[in-house]
């Protein structure tokens, strides 16, 4: 069962800030989902089938550089740019 603390941990990893009053809704539905997932445990698999994937990558790209042509269109999509940089609140790297 998912505890509120665990939900907070998941929220931190996913960078979601669900308000306190809504948390029970999520805990509830997530627990229902976790119940459904319990079925996974019960499936027994033959050891022969343990390779994860059979298909191989067939798409390999030649090393030909192409200068991007959409920079100005992309800047139009951007919430905030200054002198072609994307701007975020200051990040502090040192403790």
């Amino acid at each position: 069962m998912l505890s509120p603390e665990h939900l907070h941990h998941l929220m931190k990893l996913a960078h979601l800030k669900i308000p306190e009053h809504e948390a029970p809704i999520y805990v509830n539905s997530l627990n229902k989902l976790i119940d459904i997932l319990a079925m996974l445990e019960k499936v027994e698999l033959n050891n022969k089938e343990l390779s994860l994937s059979v298909e191989k990558l067939t798409h390999l790209r030649d090393d030909n550089p192409i200068l991007p042509s959409e920079q100005s269109l992309c800047e139009q999509c951007a919430p905030q740019t200054i002198s072609h940089f994307y701007i975020v609140p200051k990040v502090i790297e040192e403790e």
């Binding site: 989902l33 459904i36 997932l37 994937s53």
Partner: protein, 490 residues
């Protein structure tokens, strides 16, 4: 007395265009007119691209005049708002992208433009393709043209409803766990999801990368075959797209080849008595046509839903991490710290269902849970592929109901959103096993449409389309129209 344009198939419209009975501009205006008058009732479109449509129609008319193009040149279409359209707002049904104007076209979009098809507009959908009713759209729900109190299905509900209401002759959708086939079932349409890798995912906003696949809604098998041929093909921009040859699917419709059809008893058993009676009626018809129908044991129903709801949310949680308010999309105003920027932009931008699935995906991938959930689900998926492969050694097609009943009422699952996940029961295994699947509108439940699903071998869409065409000849469905479709517009 010929039928009104919106009750005819896209191929028919194409033939009329080529006979110069009508121009693409005229057809386009016809549908735009209908959208204007009738869409408020069902809310299938999020944006109508009037000016673009007219200019594309003019170009298409020139192509037809010059003897260029294909049967679908000049035919208008509705496009699920999951596909990027350059210069045209693309929202994925979400507040996160409410004002997003892509700087590029999806490969699917480009192919349709190149074929001379005409974009009528972008259709409503469950946010980021997560849902089965088109009731999780930031922009409000879509209603089923057969019964406005009911859902059209999801996540491609807008594209299905637009077609069923006669607001477009053909439309596109995407299918991750049933999002084309289920709405097709609820809206009396042909809905096909080809084999994973057939259609490029470049420009299709990602939900679950290993399951997502674009597909088609149509009134007839011929229409589905025609558009599928245009959309399929390898794309160097999508590493998961397949190099498998693409046949001209419209050539595989005429023959009356006979098939060995397998019917899994467990899905049949999940139907109620009316559903079972309907299903038996269809099976009898198949036998009368000469096909061999055999009941098989396919004991997968217990684990397909848990497997799907492990893999899809996991991939989604990672695919949706890019929505952080930095380079595009919704950004929380006046965020003081980076953490605020991220968490508030995302919390505001995503709806409840999306947040739920992101959290679920984070859970199944997180340390201590990965092996038991995600890793296990991947192994079960391989096992499932082998189960299907074994079945296809003795059979050509697997037939199931697409859904267990007709469309449900609008708020039927509001108190228990997780219960709605089970409406995907018949469809998810097809995505998990990378197989092609088609829903055809030959059954009814309580007076409302519900569909027969045919599942085929990998890359064997031709067999599905041929069988569908045969069924279409034996059990024609074209006289059933939604009440909205029956409404004429001056």
């Amino acid at each position: 007395m010929s039928q009104p344009w919106h009750l005819r198939s896209a191929a028919d419209l194409g033939r009329a265009l080529r006979r110069r009975e009508v121009t693409s501009v005229e057809l386009t205006k016809y549908f735009l007119n209908r959208i204007d008058a009738l869409d408020p009732k069902i809310h299938s479109y999020l944006v109508v691209t009037k000016d673009l449509a007219i200019s594309q129609a003019q170009r298409a008319d020139a192509m037809i005049q010059a003897g260029e193009g294909t049967l679908l040149t000049g035919v208008p279409f509705a496009h699920k708002d999951l596909f990027c359209t350059k210069g045209v707002r693309t929202t994925a049904g979400s507040r996160m992208l409410a004002n997003f104007i892509p700087p590029y076209d999806a490969t699917v979009t480009q192919k349709m433009y190149d074929a001379g098809m005409v974009l009528l507009g972008k259709t409503n959908m469950d946010e980021f393709a997560m849902g089965s009713a088109t009731n999780h759209s930031y922009f409000g729900p879509t209603s089923n043209p057969f019964d406005l109190n009911r859902v059209p299905g999801g996540s491609s509900g807008g594209s299905a409803a637009a077609l069923a209401a006669g607001l477009a002759p053909i439309s596109t959708g995407s299918d991750t766990g049933g999002s084309i086939r289920q709405p097709a079932s609820y809206c009396h349409l042909v809905g096909i999801k080809p084999t994973y890798g057939r259609i490029s995912r470049y420009g299709m906003i990602a939900f679950a990368s290993s399951l997502d696949q674009a597909g088609v809604f149509a009134h007839t098998t011929e229409d589905a075959a025609l558009l599928l041929s245009i959309l399929c093909g390898v794309d160097e921009k999508d590493s998961t797209s397949s190099y498998e040859e693409v046949p001209d699917f419209s050539k595989s419709l005429e023959s009356n080849q006979l098939y060995r059809i397998a019917v899994p008893s467990s899905f049949f058993a999940a139907l109620d008595s009316e559903g079972q009676a309907e299903f038996r009626r269809v099976l009898t018809t198949l036998e009368q046509m000469g096909h061999t129908v055999s009941w098989i044991d396919l004991p997968i129903q217990d684990y397909v839903i848990p497997t799907y709801y492990t893999i899809a949310p996991a991939e989604a949680s990672s695919n949706l991490a890019r929505y952080d308010g930095v380079r595009y999309g919704h950004r929380h105003e006046n965020a003081h710290t980076l953490e605020e920027l991220y968490s508030l932009s995302r919390t505001e931008g995503f709806g409840e269902e999306v947040k739920r699935r992101i959290l679920m995906g984070t859970y199944v991938l997180s340390a201590g849970y990965y092996d038991a959930y995600y890793q296990k689900a991947l192994l079960i998926r391989q096992h499932l592929k082998q189960v299907f492969a074994k079945t296809f050694e003795s059979f050509d097609i697997i037939a199931t109901p697409t859904t267990l009943s007709a469309a449900f009422l609008h708020n039927a699952h509001d108190t228990d959103p997780v219960a709605m996940y089970y409406s995907d029961l018949c469809t998810v295994s097809v995505n998990l096993a990378d197989l092609p699947g088609i829903s055809i509108p030959v059954m009814q439940h309580q007076g409302l449409p519900f569909g027969l699903q045919l599942i085929g071998r990998p890359f064997d869409e031709a067999t599905l389309l041929n069988c569908s065409a045969q069924i279409e000849r034996a059990l024609p469905w074209h006289s059933t129209h939604s009440p909205i479709a029956m409404q004429e517009v001056v």
